[in-house]
């Protein structure tokens, strides 16, 4: 078997990463988990409503920008350039953060990152932290790690609060509670929010006001905050959080200690690069021209905000993804979630079916790139197949990640990982090989076509006379089977036109 070019070590294939810590792997393959979501009528309705709302908003504000395509090109290239010189940029970021009074930590995996953060929190003596919504800390399961040492983590983003109070899991990158409707949210608040006015209505403004009242006292007393970061500027050591509600500002401003967990791929080379991403991100994610609040800080600012600042740089599989020269572009993701909102699969299954912190089209590539494709029964092995390859995700991606192309590539890496691990091919692999064999030769293909034509006698009114074996019965469960024609096109041509070409 020939080797793919430019893939040192083919690290995406092979044993799964240790994912016992964190939330990168679900407990079931996608098709099984999706079946449950598809049957959840409330979820289907909520998702259809929310995704169609945001799609229209995004389209409107993107059309408004005359140089949108130039911004996408710049964003894509800046990220590619960043990946190519990641070591020097991370060292530069570290040096600048340290020069401005911050401390930088490095974490190989989720367990190490959790240990660093819990140790830092315990050293302050605090028994609670306030958190800004952060994918990285969700990915590593930080809240559970803090809880294990007796520290309460308060999620302060409204959607994260809904998820936390509802003892639920996030299902979307931007709006973790997208699967919940207003009536459900009212119920969760009425049951779970301490001190809430029980007569609250399900008006979004009323629910938002209840969250404000509930969290205000927590913000005023919190001594430690934990955040993620949207961007870290190597040239200046500046960290950035892009948000809407002001909960981010509260966490970044009021406590004495700030701990930021940032994936190593979130670094950008220069301050000037933010002019691109601060245009691409809000319009792609919330469909706003600009999000209400963007905060930037560089180390410690004397007399303003936290006087102790820690930056934790997280690998947790990112270097594995980086080693795949096509898959590495998945690390360009700026977590806008535009691909989720346009994805016809996500729109119907929601995010829980993906099992990972990162759902939707980007999750279907990023998750297996982070954890590896085993070729065995790891649930993440099913993710590259959770797409029709319709291409809507690639069209909207602000940094032009070619998600369909990477999905196809990961499918190949998956079947090859399976072949590496097993002596016998799957029935599918054997069938594919047989079909490829017959198609490699026109005479064989013509004979196969005539054999298929005989199969037409086995189909009556769209249904096979004998039940088809799995997985082929997946077709006939909901669709009539096509009836092969009695005469193939090539036989018709030969009969009516004679041999040609």
């Amino acid at each position: 078997m020939s080797t793919f070019l430019g893939m040192p070590g083919v690290p995406v294939r092979g044993p799964a990463a240790d994912t016992a810590v964190g939330h990168l792997t679900g407990d079931r393959p996608f098709p099984a988990a999706a079946r449950d979501s598809l049957a959840d009528t409330q979820l289907r309705r909520n998702l259809a409503h929310a995704t169609s709302t945001i799609r229209a908003k995004r389209a409107a504000v993107v059309t408004e920008v005359p140089d949108w395509e130039a911004l996408r090109d710049a964003g894509s290239a800046i990220k590619a350039d960043t990946m190519a010189r990641l070591p020097e940029l991370l060292e530069q970021l570290e040096a600048n953060v340290v020069a401005r009074g911050g401390t930088v930590h490095w974490a190989r995996d989720a367990a190490e990152a959790n240990r660093i953060v819990t140790d830092l929190v315990r050293a302050t003596g605090a028994d609670e932290v306030v958190k800004v919504k952060s994918m990285a800390t969700q990915e590593i399961g930080l809240n559970e790690a803090l809880e294990a040492v007796g520290v309460t983590a308060h999620e302060t983003d409204l959607a994260e609060l809904i998820v936390q109070l509802g003892h639920d899991r996030p299902s979307h990158i931007l709006v973790p509670a997208i699967h919940r409707g207003r009536a459900e949210i009212r119920e969760i608040f009425a049951l779970e929010m301490p001190g809430v006015d029980p007569s609250l209505t399900d008006e979004p403004a009323v629910l938002a006001a209840a969250a404000r009242t509930h969290l205000r006292q927590v913000f005023l007393r919190a001594r430690v905050a934990v955040s993620g970061a949207n961007f870290g500027v190597a040239e200046t050591g500046t960290l950035t959080v892009v948000e809407s509600e002001g909960n981010g500002r509260m966490c970044l401003t009021l406590p004495e200690t700030l701990i930021t967990v940032m994936g190593i791929e979130k670094v950008v080379p220069s301050w000037r690069d933010l002019e691109v991403f601060l245009q691409l991100l809000p319009r792609s994610s919330t469909g706003e021209r600009m999000n209400p609040y963007t905060s930037t800080w560089t180390g410690v600012t004397p007399g303003d905000g936290p006087q102790e600042f820690h930056l934790v740089l997280l690998d947790n599989g990112r270097t594995r993804a980086l080693a795949d020269d096509l898959g590495r572009t998945a690390l360009h993701c700026i977590r806008c979630s535009a691909c989720l909102n346009v994805c016809p699969v996500y729109e119907r299954t929601g995010g829980h079916a993906y099992g990972s912190t990162y759902p939707g089209p980007i999750g279907a590539i990023l998750t297996p790139l982070l954890t590896g494709l085993t070729g065995g029964d790891d649930p993440n092995d099913s993710l590259p197949y959770a797409s029709t390859l319709c291409g809507a995700c690639y069209d909207v991606c602000p940094v032009k990640i070619n998600i369909p192309e990477i999905l196809v590539q990961l499918r190949a890496e998956h079947t090859e990982a399976h072949a590496d691990r097993h002596r016998l091919p799957t029935a599918e692999a054997a069938a594919m090989k047989a079909v490829a064999w017959s198609m490699a030769d026109p005479a064989r293909f013509a004979r196969a076509g005539r054999a298929a034509a005989l199969a037409r006698h086995g189909i009556r009114r769209g249904k096979p006379l004998l039940p088809l074996p799995p997985p082929l019965n997946g077709w006939t469960a909901s669709r009539d089977a096509p009836r092969p024609s009695a005469e193939s096109f090539r036989d018709w041509w030969a009969r009516t036109r004679g041999p040609s070409s």
């Binding site: 119907r348 797409s387 190949a412």
Partner: protein, 247 residues
């Protein structure tokens, strides 16, 4: 113009009427159609299901067959499928490169550059929108994902359809939403595929059309398979068949 027909494996075995219609339209417009009988399949199903090595042999075969006819006086290759042309144009060379065969990649690019989906060939290469068809039926058009997003055919199929005499062309709601076929997705993720199909069928039924058309027999097989299972009375008809019709 002398045009080589790439019938596609699905079109050859399951939907020969689509190929016959493609020939009829081009011949009616005064062009010569040749059918390279050595052709088999573009390899897309293999590629998209994760069997790139198996696909590579099919790609090589496809390139050899069609570069021969292109060298032999054919000016273009046409296929009545956005998806298969998409594979030729966007997957063949990349696949050859991944297999380490740069020479094949260059040859694949040359073939791809002269391979067109039917509506592209008619509108862009041959410069016609009125192909002299007549089709007195209520029709709605589903733009298939690969023709829309991989090839960017835009409104070419609609311009062709609008010029058909007697047609009652009605707009499909949420037209650019995927029908849920996705090749082997339709069996590997049959439940999700069916959920998408249900919504596509609702859109089709909402138009009260008697015919749903598209530029891909594969997506039509999926949509039509669902419509027929529910005995909706709506027929799938390929774009080529409407353009070939004169009654």
């Amino acid at each position: 113009m002398k045009v080589a027909l790439f019938i596609t494996c699905l079109g050859d075995v399951l939907f020969p009427e689509v190929g016959k219609a493609t020939v009829a339209v081009l011949e009616r417009l005064g062009h010569e159609v040749v059918f390279p009988r050595d052709q088999t399949c573009c390899g897309q199903m293999h590629t998209n299901t994760g069997y790139q090595h198996d696909a590579a042999g099919l790609v090589r075969h496809h390139v050899e067959v069609f570069e021969r006819v292109l060298a032999d006086g054919c000016e273009a290759v046409v296929a009545p499928s956005g998806s298969c042309v998409g594979s030729v144009r966007h997957q063949h060379a990349a696949l050859a490169r991944r297999e380490g065969d740069e020479a094949l990649a260059v040859r694949a690019e040359a073939v791809a550059a002269r391979t067109f989906e039917l509506s592209e060939l008619l509108v862009d290469v041959l410069g016609v929108t009125d192909v002299g068809a007549a089709y007195p039926h209520r029709v709605t058009y589903h733009p298939t994902c690969h023709s829309l997003r991989l090839l960017g055919v835009g409104d070419r199929p609609l311009r062709l359809l609008r010029a058909v005499r007697g047609i009652d062309l009605v707009e499909l709601p949420a037209a650019d939403s995927c029908c849920g076929f996705g090749g082997t997705f339709s069996i590997k993720n049959a439940d999700t595929s069916t959920a998408m199909l249900a919504d596509k069928m609702s859109s089709v039924l909402a138009t009260r059309a008697e015919v749903v058309t598209a530029g891909d027999a594969s997506c039509l097989m999926h949509i039509g398979g669902g419509l027929s299972r529910l005995r909706t009375g709506v027929r799938p008809v390929h774009l080529a068949e409407i353009l070939a019709s004169t009654t």
